[in-house]
């Protein structure tokens, strides 16, 4: 995190606006699709940067409610946030595949909340209005 302004998300927004409003139409039409993809990528990066680690911490908390013993281990082994999430999600994925969580309401709730959080960053327009905020 920086105290300098504009910060990362703002820089991305400025660059994105420049690309879309000033550069795109000056390029051959054959390149417009690529520019649109780049703008989209920058939008996702800006949202992800703004969200910070909040989304990951929220997911870890929810997983912790289900695998309380696993998160205790992570506090002791000084895992990074990403490592802890990977470990717990591997465990969850294995349980789901093995049929240990069939129709589990708590897991369903976790999966729904997680995917909505991911879509708020990747493509908030697809979410119902009350979910996208």
């Amino acid at each position: 995190m920086t105290q300098d302004q504009p910060d990362g998300p703002a820089l991305l927004r400025h660059a994105r606006t420049t690309l879309r409003n000033e550069i795109r139409d000056a390029l051959p039409v054959a390149l417009h699709h690529q520019i649109d993809l780049i703008v989209r990528v920058m939008e996702i990066a800006a949202r992800e940067s703004e969200a910070g680690e909040h989304v990951c911490h929220a997911e870890l908390r929810k997983l912790g409610e289900i695998y309380d013993d696993k998160t205790e281990a992570s506090e002791q082994t000084a895992e990074t946030l990403e490592e802890a999430l990977l470990r717990l999600n591997w465990w969850l994925a294995a349980e789901l595949r093995g049929g240990k969580r069939d129709g589990d309401e708590d897991i369903y709730d976790l999966l729904c909340k997680t995917v909505i959080a991911r879509l708020r960053i990747a493509n908030p327009d697809i979410l119902p209005k009350e979910s996208s905020s």
């Binding site: 994925a93 789901l96 069939d102």
Partner: protein
């Protein structure tokens, strides 16, 4: 003028191509007067070739399409000879497709084998078709026609000598698809709990196939041509295999293929009723609604897994492409949202 590598390859091959076209058509001479690259996915390279024939089967000017493999590798894709064999089989069965003409396995011409079909006028873009209902006349009639053509495809049953390269039909196409998705997920090296939830639901609800037929495997808006009269031809034959006919119905009606028109179940162009009507009338089959619902869930899983696999392949290869990378960020969570919507806990049954 700077040519792309594929444009240069075609320019270098022009004389040889003209020789082959003349030979195959029985013409004295063939002259390619215009070559237009056709957009599509990166696994295919296609060109429209406007060609003047002196004598032979196509005396006059004819628009042809040259089909060959593209630079990218899809998760599953028939080579040109196999795709030509599928196209020839469905053409002979009366399915409305661009007429397959010749397959050429001489790699000295283009650097790779290719096949030729007759050009069919029409709009293929799923987005354009869904956005502009004026294209192709009545949409219910179009949906009915699509159902009829799909029925004809499903009239082709194993064994077929010219399709001997297809994998033998699996005892359970549903379980086979689930296994294939799991293998692909395992190769990615990252856990996907949302997709595992969906695959487990599918495992518990896998329908038994009442019969095994030729399935298109990618029958959707974007894979058929529409002209001012309606359906002009079905395209996109790179992934056909033996399977459950309900697979294609589920893929066509899956929400992920409605191009932003979720209320129009049949490919974003019409309600599913006329599509089903055309299919049932032409096939004599009664559509199994529960099986179609299963295959719609499976469609979303397939799309998510394909997007993740394509991004992984793009990252690993020397050919950088932004589109699959972006798709792997957008597609899987969008598919998971729909999968979760269709697999709420109260819809699970004990095994």
């Amino acid at each position: 003028m700077i040519l792309t590598p594929s444009e240069q390859r075609l320019a270098d091959a022009k004389a040889e191509l003209e020789r082959v076209l003349a030979q195959r058509s029985g013409a004295r001479l063939a002259r390619i007067t215009q070559a237009v690259p056709l957009t599509g996915d990166a696994t295919q390279e296609t060109w429209q070739l406007k060609t003047e024939f002196e004598g032979g089967d196509f005396a006059g000017v004819e628009a042809l399409v040259l089909h060959s493999d593209g630079a990218a590798k899809g998760t599953k894709h028939h080579g040109p000879s196999q795709e030509f064999a599928v196209l020839t089989t469905v053409w002979r069965a009366g399915v409305r497709v661009p007429e397959p003409l010749w397959f050429c396995d001489d790699s000295t011409i283009l650097g790779k084998p290719f096949y030729m079909t007759r050009w069919v006028d029409g709009v293929a873009s799923g987005q354009q078709l869904v956005a502009n209902s004026r294209i192709g006349g009545g949409r219910e009639l179009l949906a009915e026609s699509l159902g009829e053509e799909l029925a004809k495809i499903h009239g082709i049953t194993p064994p077929q000598a010219e399709l001997a390269f297809l994998e033998p039909p699996p005892p359970s196409p549903a379980l086979h698809m689930i296994r294939t998705c799991r293998v692909q997920l395992d190769m990615l090296g990252r856990p996907q709990p949302g997709l595992e939830w969906g695959l487990r639901w599918c495992e518990l609800h896998a329908p038994a196939a009442r019969e095994i037929v030729l399935v298109h495997q990618d029958f959707r808006s974007g894979h058929y041509l529409v002209d001012e009269h309606g359906l002009a031809g079905v395209i996109g034959w790179g992934t056909s295999e033996w399977g459950d006919p309900m697979t294609d119905l589920g893929w066509f009606c899956a929400k992920c293929w409605r191009y932003g028109r979720p209320q129009l179940d049949a490919g974003g162009i019409a309600p599913r009723t006329p599509f089903y009507r055309g299919y049932e009338r032409a096939s004599g089959r009664k559509i199994d609604a529960a099986a179609v619902a299963f295959w719609e869930v499976m469609a979303h899983l397939r799309r998510a897994v394909t997007a993740l696999s394509a991004s992984s392949a793009s990252t690993d290869s020397d050919q950088h492409s932004l589109e699959p990378v972006l798709s792997s960020r957008l597609c899987p969570p969008e598919m998971e949202l729909e999968i979760l919507h269709c697999t709420v806990p109260r819809n699970w049954t004990a095994p």
